[in-house]
């Protein structure tokens, strides 16, 4: 069932151009990524579906990575090496390719993939000084960021790593080789950190899940799933309400996973959130990115749920690894690069009908209660503190 529904990605590819054109006519600011990229980027992402969304889809099993690969190959107008028209294409190495390879590993976060990709850049680098290496890395990271401007954790991961490299080079390691090896080592470790962060978040949140509570979750977040899994393993008695997570039905996935763990679970359509909110004790959501204000950017519908929960005085907990902290400050929903995704309506939609295809929204911090991160349990106000400390 899920597989079949995934075919829309291909279908939409074919239909995408007209739709995106209407988009750009109606609202010039958020043009479809494909258009924007082609115009502005030396290394355009030919795929009109945001890479961010693809990753999500891949990780959530709607489309397996292999399937996605095929789909991409089929859709791609440009052969693979077109990617490597980036500045460092002098070598037969493309950071994007590297990134894509890493990205398709399930269970590997996008930020980690980015850092791994950057590490590969270092490895392949022929630079002899820290300065050169830095410049090279900077280019690679810019390329990577430009390749998918919609992915926040990619951006955050690149920034974080770059920051680290800068600090390392500025710090005590005059010796280029030791510095390089140190940086590489960190990059390798980073994947571990990512997994460990999830564990840690799960541990931290256990205190907050009490027996008999009802938890509302939205979409499929690996961290949230880890939390619930841990709670179930700890023999906590709780009930989960899963939103459906239209259009990619990630909530259904989560519900199924939870049912496998014998957690009582109830599936809601996305619009039933307010209806069910009074029986909910807390809301758990993941995050694609945690922005400077302490707000989060997450799957479409999170804002809505947070608003409802806030209105009914229910706590909203965000589970997010700290590498998702990004130096962004969206003021409103339209203030961020829209990550577009195809939406499958059961009834045919005429091309004249404009479709809101953004895949995520921004939830301001005042609607969030606490953030569970690997840095500990934080109030939204801490995010800015951490970011300031890091980038000061």
């Amino acid at each position: 069932m899920l597989r079949s529904s995934a075919s829309f990605i291909l279908d939409k590819h074919l239909n995408n151009k007209p739709i995106s054109i209407t988009h750009s006519i109606d609202s010039p600011p958020p043009p479809s990524t494909s258009m924007a990229d082609e115009n502005s980027n030396p290394n355009p992402n030919p795929n009109p579906i945001s890479a961010y969304y693809q990753t999500r889809a891949a990780h959530h099993g709607i489309v397996t990575s292999g399937w996605l690969e095929q789909a991409q190959a089929a859709v791609r107008r440009y052969p693979d090496h077109d990617y490597s028209s980036s500045p460092d294409s002098r070598r037969p190495f493309s950071v994007i390719e590297e990134f894509n390879n890493w990205r398709q590993q399930p269970d590997l976060a996008e930020a980690v993939a980015a850092i791994r990709a950057l590490a590969a850049v270092i490895r392949a680098s022929e630079a002899t000084t820290m300065m050169e290496l830095e410049i090279e890395l900077k280019k690679a990271s810019d390329t990577l960021k430009a390749w998918d401007t919609t992915s926040i954790s990619l951006t955050a991961g690149c920034d974080l790593f770059m920051r680290y490299v800068t600090r390392t080079s500025a710090l005590e390691f005059e010796d280029f080789n030791s510095a390089k090896s140190r940086v590489l080592e960190r990059a390798e470790k980073f994947g571990e950190i990512s997994c460990k962060a999830r564990r840690m978040i799960a541990m931290l949140s256990q205190d907050f899940i009490f027996d008999g509570c009802t938890i509302l979750v939205h979409g499929f977040s690996r961290v949230v799933f880890e939390i619930l899994k841990t709670a179930a393993q700890n023999k906590k008695l709780f009930r989960v309400l899963c939103t459906e997570g239209r259009p990619d039905k990630t909530g259904v996935m989560l519900a199924n996973e939870l049912a496998k763990l014998d957690v009582p679970v109830k599936l809601l359509i996305d619009s039933a959130v307010a209806y069910s909110m009074d029986e909910v004790d807390m809301v758990f959501v993941g995050a694609d990115g945690v922005v400077e204000s302490g707000g989060i950017i997450n799957m479409m519908g999170t804002y809505q749920i947070a608003l409802v929960a806030h209105g009914m005085n229910k706590p909203v907990y965000v589970a997010a690894e700290s590498y998702k902290f990004a130096r962004l400050y969206p003021l409103d929903q339209k203030d961020l690069e829209p990550a577009l995704r195809p939406i499958d309506f059961d009834v045919p939609v005429l091309p004249k009908v404009d479709v809101e295809r953004s895949a995520r929204d921004y939830t301001p911090p005042q609607y969030l209660t606490l953030l569970f991160t690997d840095l500990g349990v934080l109030t939204p106000s801490v995010v800015s503190d951490e970011l300031i400390q890091l980038y000061l």
Partner: protein, 410 residues
């Protein structure tokens, strides 16, 4: 050692029987007890900081278990642990610097033991150790020695102990550490004792002429705060909610009157009615949680909600020993204490209906008499601590300054 043990037992009993009232008194007892624990603890030559920490932790666990809702105990224990760690760290750095510059023999010693150059290592170790004193941050995520990130504490303590155990003048350093720690603990005692004055000093900035202030419960901090403003010739009026069924408000009112303040006692139920004529609500906290939430005397949430409704500033006074590094979950229930029903209903009157667990088949009558109330951070306008005024959203930072990340979970 035995007398320390007996002191601990005595204190634990007191805590258990709730013989000690008020977080300040508890904090003071606790820190004094810990001081004697430290001073009487025979420190082994090796790894003394860790030994001290273990000793304090052991006692602290007992104390916390004796009365888990008296968060001040845990706070003070953590503060003492933090002091030990900091003193240890500063000693280590000082020693290393000293070793580095002056004592060649020691340097050799170190060099022999450690494979790599000491100067480079020292910086790394210190950085790592410092990082453990702070909660993890984005910086530490990528920075520092890899081991320190994965197993934060062991690296520093290991390095420290090693360096110390190898140091030539072991006994002097040992004594030094203990001395410094006790010095630090004394400072803490001093701080706890003086927190009222520190807070009261700020009263003048917050209370103006002809103000009407509402307060709840009986808090010495509040008393001193109001009196400090009174001494500065500000004339204002105080409404005190009586705080049934413990009537602490009456006690506070009498003390205020004794100090010449215009005081009016109101029933707890009249809080909402009166709040529209109140300029400021000032309460003393039982504990302040890391998210800026407040545990206060029962009924305080009601006052906070009413204050919010009427846009009346809700000010919380809290000595730094009340800052608790924990995030509350379900605090109304978990961080609460239900007291005897006899405070609400006369014995005998309803005894036939009360459930004594006998399952007599008579209808159940439960009597709920909670001690504390939790105020979520969004209802708090301002915290006034001995370090100044703070927003609820900034409390996490104060807490990070006072406690070591490793001690959060005891």
């Amino acid at each position: 050692m035995p007398d320390v043990q007996s002191m601990v037992v005595e204190f634990v009993n007191k805590l258990r029987k709730r013989k000690i009232e008020g977080s300040q008194a508890t904090a003071k007892y606790t820190v004094e007890l810990l001081r004697s624990v430290i001073s009487q603890h025979r420190v082994p030559h090796a790894n003394q900081a860790a030994a001290l920490i273990d000793a304090v932790k052991a006692v602290g666990e007992q104390l916390v278990a004796a009365n888990p809702v008296e968060l001040a105990v845990g706070n003070v224990v953590r503060r003492v642990l933090h002091i030990i760690r900091e003193e240890d760290l500063s000693l280590t750095t000082a020693a290393m610097a000293g070793l580095d510059l002056l004592d060649a023999s020691d340097d050799d010693d170190e060099d022999n033991c450690k494979g790599i150059g000491y100067p480079a290592m020292s910086a790394a170790v210190v950085a790592a150790a410092r990082s453990t004193l702070r909660p993890p941050s984005l910086q530490t995520l990528l920075e520092g020695t890899p081991e320190s990130a994965t197993v934060p504490y062991t690296s520093s303590s290991g390095a420290d102990s090693e360096s110390k155990s190898k140091s030539a003048d072991k006994s002097s350093i040992t004594r030094k550490l203990k001395h410094d720690v006790i010095e630090g603990v004394n400072q803490l005692i001093h701080e706890i004792a003086g927190c009222h004055e520190q807070i009261a000093e700020q009263a003048i900035e917050h209370i103006h002429q002809n103000e009407v202030i509402l307060t709840l419960g009986s808090s010495r901090t509040v008393l001193e705060f109001l009196c400090a403003a009174k001494e500065k010739k500000r004339s204002f009026r105080v409404f005190v909610a009586e705080g049934a069924p413990r009537y602490q408000g009456h006690l506070l009112a009498k003390e205020l009157v004794a100090r010449g303040l215009q005081t009016t006692v109101i029933t707890d139920s009249a809080v909402f009615a009166m709040i529209s004529r109140v300029n400021m609500v000032i309460i003393g906290a039982h504990a302040v949680m890391a998210n800026g939430g407040v545990i206060g005397p029962v009924g305080v949430n009601m006052a906070a909600l009413a204050a919010q409704k009427h846009a009346v500033p809700f000010v919380v006074l809290a000595g730094s020993h009340k800052l608790c590094p924990l995030y509350p979950h379900n605090p109304e229930v978990l961080l609460n204490e239900l007291r005897s029903p006899s405070e609400l209903l006369d014995f005998g009157e309803f005894s036939d209906c009360l459930d004594f667990g006998a399952g007599s088949g008579s209808p159940l009558l439960q009597v709920v008499n909670p001690t504390f109330d939790y105020v979520p951070p969004n209802l708090v306008s301002l915290f006034i601590t001995d370090t100044g005024g703070h927003n609820p959203s900034y409390m996490y930072r104060l807490i990070a300054d006072y406690y070591s990340a490793d001690d959060l979970v005891m």
